[in-house]
Symmetry: C2
């Protein structure tokens, strides 16, 4: 993991992996149980000025607002049209799912995938002027690979949309669709012109955030992870539930402390608030990764 400075955080990761892979160790865990779950926004890539999927939703709302004039009088949609990031941040995963499904209901899952693919390959981040996928954290990509090289299966458990992530998570993170867990709207099987298709509805199915994260993880994996990594209060229950299993456990939290190379925030922010989870991490000696201290490099495109 060359992008990590040698410090307590890196050491705690390596020690944990050594503990569970050493075949003669009492802490050995067989590969089938080496399940690692990662939050996405703010953990694997940046989340400022607002979850990147909100910027996707903003573009879609603006593109479709002429066909939906009633959106102008709905606060959530108005916030998207106006680019009001504070209001969107407060709306959180549920607001994001609502916007995504409103702008993409009635279409097939295949059609939605194409819209996401088009956006993710062309849209640019407002500060860095690069594709959003360039804002994946290099140290975390190295960590994902390090874990997989040691027999782990790496999952993503995101409050963002499951179908949004699945389009590109394999390419960027090496996490194929079946290992992506996220928030979702309901889909229905239909016959259209004699073709069986899956159609997106405008009803929320599941919000994979806060207490929803352990529920989603259990539903998709059917096992309790031994390794969980997040960065905000939305990840607290995932970390608690992972910690409560028997045997060796790794609990990690990324602390955004680098306002120069990325962003610095914790308790006072609407997007990615880290407050209760920060207290609990300190009280229980979970691994706190200090972005500024622990990471040599943040993005693969190098220091600004």
């Amino acid at each position: 993991m060359p992008s990590w400075n040698d410090g307590a955080a890196k050491q705690s990761i390596i020690r944990f992996v050594d503990d569970v892979t050493g075949e003669d160790a009492p802490t050995f865990v067989p590969p089938a149980d080496r399940i690692a779950v990662f939050d996405n926004d703010g953990t694997l890539w940046s989340e400022k000025p607002v979850y990147f999927q909100f910027l996707f939703a903003i573009e879609r709302v603006r593109a479709l607002v002429l066909q939906h004039p009633q959106w102008q009088s709905q606060p959530l949609f108005k916030a998207a049209i106006d680019g009001d990031f504070d209001a969107l941040g407060i709306a959180g995963a549920k607001g994001l799912t609502t916007l995504t499904m409103a702008t993409h209901s009635g279409m097939t899952t295949d059609a939605f995938d194409r819209i996401v693919e088009d956006w993710i390959t062309t849209a640019q981040h407002p500060r860095f002027h690069r594709p959003f996928t360039d804002l994946a954290f290099k140290p975390m990509l190295e960590l994902l690979r390090y874990l997989r090289d040691n027999g782990f299966t790496t999952y993503i458990a995101s409050a963002g949309g499951i179908e949004f992530l699945r389009v590109w998570a394999d390419r960027i993170y090496g996490v194929p669709p079946q290992y992506v867990i996220g928030s979702s709207s309901i889909t229905q099987f239909q016959m259209r012109d004699g073709e069986p298709v899956l159609v997106r509805e405008d009803r929320i199915e599941f919000i994979d955030d806060e207490a929803g994260k352990p529920v989603g993880i259990y539903k998709f994996i059917g096992r309790r992870p031994i390794f969980a990594f997040g960065n905000s209060d939305g990840d607290l229950q995932m970390l608690q539930w992972t910690a409560a299993g028997g045997g060796p456990r790794f609990l990690g939290l990324l602390h955004h402390t680098d306002g120069e190379r990325e962003w610095a925030y914790d308790r006072n922010t609407t997007v990615g608030r880290l407050d209760k989870a920060l207290d609990e991490a300190r009280a229980r000696a979970w691994t706190l990764v200090d972005m500024k201290q622990d990471w040599k490099t943040i993005f693969a495109f190098g220091p600004k």
Copy 2:
């Protein structure tokens, strides 16, 4: 696949696997896309006199009815208490989920797993007087292994309960929990005595049957399978949706034709009706496996 007679069915399987694994063939499919989905009841193990999970539910309803006297006046519960298999068969996957969640709501997922584990290792099939897991079809176990040996990932997509199956599917079928898809009730994250647990509620979350099967498969896997195998009309939409993808496809249906060694039924039965799907399989030249003709051995415990 030593339990298969050399015939059209076995040949069509082998030809398909050769087609998608031959690296120079235009029909080559990379391993990541070699997704195979199997129905469970009637496809991987028997389903008579009624889905085996109904026998589990019957035992649970009878064990708990004194605490729930109102069940005596509810038709579905009454059918379970009376062992009315026709009525239970008609109630189908939804009835099964209702019984399972009514008898196991309020308990943690861990507690439910222990009850299933206890039942599956001790209960016996009424005709064969053996553990239910002995009624897994030997030719299908060989097929699962053959596919995995050829780089496939084998999934189960069952109308039965996801948590019920996950307890033993790995041991019997070699299909670990994360590759089991099924019907489910809602679970909630709770703190009990300071311990984070997942608790089963008495609300249906998802019925993985008929039009629900492609929905469940897409939700869990995020890809369209290239291989699907079922045995009843409940599998029709799964087969149709799998067939509609581009590139080589294998669609299989098991036809229960052996009343002596197993059971013989198709259009006229409440449990495992094969009617529309039989017509469509013949019209579209899907692979129909004739249990009596195609299988040398049905169960590992040998000819009756």
